[in-house]
């Protein structure tokens, strides 16, 4: 078939030189690559499209288009381009071209754990503010992330800038999840309503994740490190108390609700002992059981915990 118009778009293989594989994301392999035309370093996410008679699936089309629209906010990893190609078997492959960031929050926290140092309080405050700001931006545009975790929060260690990655990919690529590593299936940042089988998510699921990340920045350990859905719930209940209809109306009607051991709530300061009063207050508002009572990202940015933070460059 003769193509209308001039030369075609460069294929991903022609446009980029793969430098190294840097990870296996939930939705495919991730490469550090150089764009040949500009010399710019990018992150290439390679994803198989599960085509049927339709060609590009509508959900992929809609969600990738959202990413293309959200790429102007400084706290969302920028999707610079999308390349469509074919692999050796002739199957369609999509390359998402993202700006490259040197590290992520998971590695950042691990580096402090290894040296035995604590993350400086003002660094925690700055990173948390940027995270709230990025989440507020997404939520303000009706976008949920649904998989916020330190691995998905990319950082530039020189500037301490933080950006949210993998936004919307959960819905763009509904592929069977292979168990590459246990980390891919981590439950640690999952909100209790999700674990209990709620079918209607709200933006509050991301706020819960933000709260878990907040605590982890302070202690360098996961707040709720469950290795099964039941264990995840029990971790949460041990600290926050087993929920009931008084603290969380409707909880007993959720699909996965059972009888659970009855724990009384503990003070958050027992889990995050070095966080100050204002930080503990903000954290407690992020970890409310009832989703509608959880603080919003926008309100979190206004919390007094951030009052003494210099926000001019954030």
């Amino acid at each position: 078939m003769e193509k209308p118009g001039g030369g075609g778009v460069l294929s991903a293989k022609e446009a980029f030189e793969k430098l190294e594989k840097v990870g296996e994301g939930t939705y495919g392999k991730v490469y550090r690559a150089r764009e040949k035309a500009t010399g710019k370093i990018v992150a290439l996410k390679k994803t198989r499209l599960h085509e049927d008679e339709e060609g590009v699936p509508p959900t992929t089309l809609r969600e990738v288009s959202i990413l293309r629209m959200l790429s102007r906010d400084p706290h969302v990893v920028r999707l610079m381009d999308v390349k469509q190609g074919q692999n050796k078997e002739g199957k369609t492959v999509l390359y998402l071209v993202f700006e490259y960031m040197d590290t992520d929050l998971k590695k950042f926290i691990r580096s402090f754990r290894q040296t035995g140092q604590t993350v400086p309080p003002q660094t925690i405050k700055s990173l948390m503010y940027q995270l709230c700001k990025g989440v507020a931006f997404c939520h303000g545009h009706g976008i949920l992330h649904r998989d916020l975790k330190p691995h998905n929060l990319l950082m530039d260690p020189k500037t301490m800038m933080l950006k949210i990655a993998d936004l919307g990919l959960a819905r763009a690529f509904t592929v069977p999840i292979k168990k590459y590593t246990h980390e891919i299936l981590t439950l640690w940042y999952r909100a209790p309503e999700v674990l209990l089988g709620a079918t209607h998510y709200s933006m509050a699921v991301d706020i819960w994740s933000v709260g878990c990340i907040f605590a982890e920045l302070v202690t360098k350990q996961a707040l709720f490190p469950g290795d099964s859905e039941l264990q995840q719930l029990l971790h949460i209940f041990r600290l926050l108390g087993t929920p009931n209809e008084d603290v969380w109306p409707g909880v007993s009607k959720l699909m996965n609700w059972h009888e659970y051991p009855q724990w009384n709530p503990q003070s958050l300061s027992t889990a995050v002992p070095s966080l100050d009063e204002l930080g503990l207050d903000l954290l407690s508002q992020m970890l409310k059981y009832e989703p509608s009572k959880r603080i919003s990202a926008k309100k979190a940015m206004e919390h007094a915990y951030f009052d003494d933070l210099d926000k001019r460059h954030l």
Partner: protein
């Protein structure tokens, strides 16, 4: 998350509309290319043919589908051009734009209906699915996967709120008429140089001038005062849209479309005459008059030309609405 022309991002909050103004240029046929395209009569005629084909194919589904498909087409043409148009290639582009639109809008039509429609063909050309998919990939690449187009529809509610008409019957009437104007003006290549927000503002002003001329100066000020809008560019765009609307009127008249002789239509005729007078005035003696001067003259002429009884009966419903 299905695509909605009025909310390209679902659940957009009113305080975040600034983001749409920031990125709207990514979703607009490029101004430079419209200059280039105007120089290519072949491409203009090709575009006209493709629009006709898209409207024909998609009018059976949803007119909004036409609008988005034509947006994709225009952005594709300004990016790629079509240097050697062949009938089958033109049809393939049109069919592929519709196919992408159907996917974006999440229409609930059975796949077989869509397929049968897409394969509808006067020339006996039937495209294989794989062929359409390859063209889709080409279009997606040219549009850089920015398929949640920001169109004038994305801004109408914002400007209506600026005009103080949020959730009012008057606002709804204006919105409906402005939407009609936006739909019809899409065919006009002269608008390619204008951003969607400018087109939305101009269409609303055109609608308000037509339907509520006595409130028009207030609406003009409300929109002009917005920091998102360049007043001079709105004036330019307004004139183009006004020309299109007038041509539409003449076209309807020439086609002998019958119209009931209601007070509204009587006023329409008066304003049509008023427009002619304005044109003559500018040409002959007042080319340097400001738009406000034009407004004054129009009002005087309009008032002088109207039967007081008709005027009174027309104003009362409006006043009642304003009081709500």
């Amino acid at each position: 998350m299905e695509f909605d022309l009025e909310n390209p991002l679902e659940n957009l909050h009113s305080d975040d509309v600034s983001y749409l103004f920031l990125i709207e240029s990514d979703h607009t046929p490029s101004q430079n290319h419209s200059q280039t395209l105007k120089a290519r009569d072949l491409d203009i005629s090709v575009r006209r043919e493709l629009i006709s084909l898209i409207s024909q194919l998609s009018c059976a589904l949803d007119p909004v589908l036409s609008y988005l498909a034509i947006n994709y087409l225009d952005r594709f043409l300004t990016n790629q051009g079509i240097l050697q148009p062949k009938p089958w290639a033109l049809r393939l582009v049109a069919v592929s734009c519709i196919s992408l639109t159907v996917k974006m809008m999440g229409t609930e039509y059975p796949a077989t209906d869509i397929q049968a429609l897409l394969n509808q063909s006067d020339g006996g050309i039937i495209f294989e699915t794989q062929t359409i998919q390859r063209m889709e990939a080409l279009i997606l690449g040219a549009l850089q996967w920015r398929m949640r187009s920001i169109t004038p529809f994305s801004f109408v509610a914002f400007f209506i709120a600026l005009m103080g008409l949020k959730e009012s019957p008057m606002g709804q009437v204006l919105k409906n008429r402005a939407s009609e104007i936006i739909f019809k003006s899409q065919r006009e290549i002269r608008l390619w140089g204008f951003k969607p927000s400018i087109i939305a503002a101009s269409a609303l002003l055109c609608a308000s001038h037509e339907l509520f001329p006595f409130q028009y100066p207030f609406f003009l000020k409300a929109i002009s005062d917005s920091s998102y809008v360049n007043k001079e560019i709105v004036e330019q765009c307004y004139k183009v849209i006004q020309d299109i609307a007038i041509e539409e009127e003449y076209s309807s008249a020439l086609n002998g479309v019958s119209r009931s002789d209601t007070p509204i239509n009587v006023l329409d005729h008066h304003f049509l005459s008023s427009e002619s007078e304005k044109t003559n005035g500018i040409t002959v003696a007042n080319a340097t008059d400001s738009p406000l001067g034009d407004l004054k003259r129009r009002k005087i002429t309009g008032c002088g030309g109207n039967n007081p009884t008709i005027l009174n009966s027309w104003i009362q419903p409006c006043e009642r609405e304003c009081e709500k």
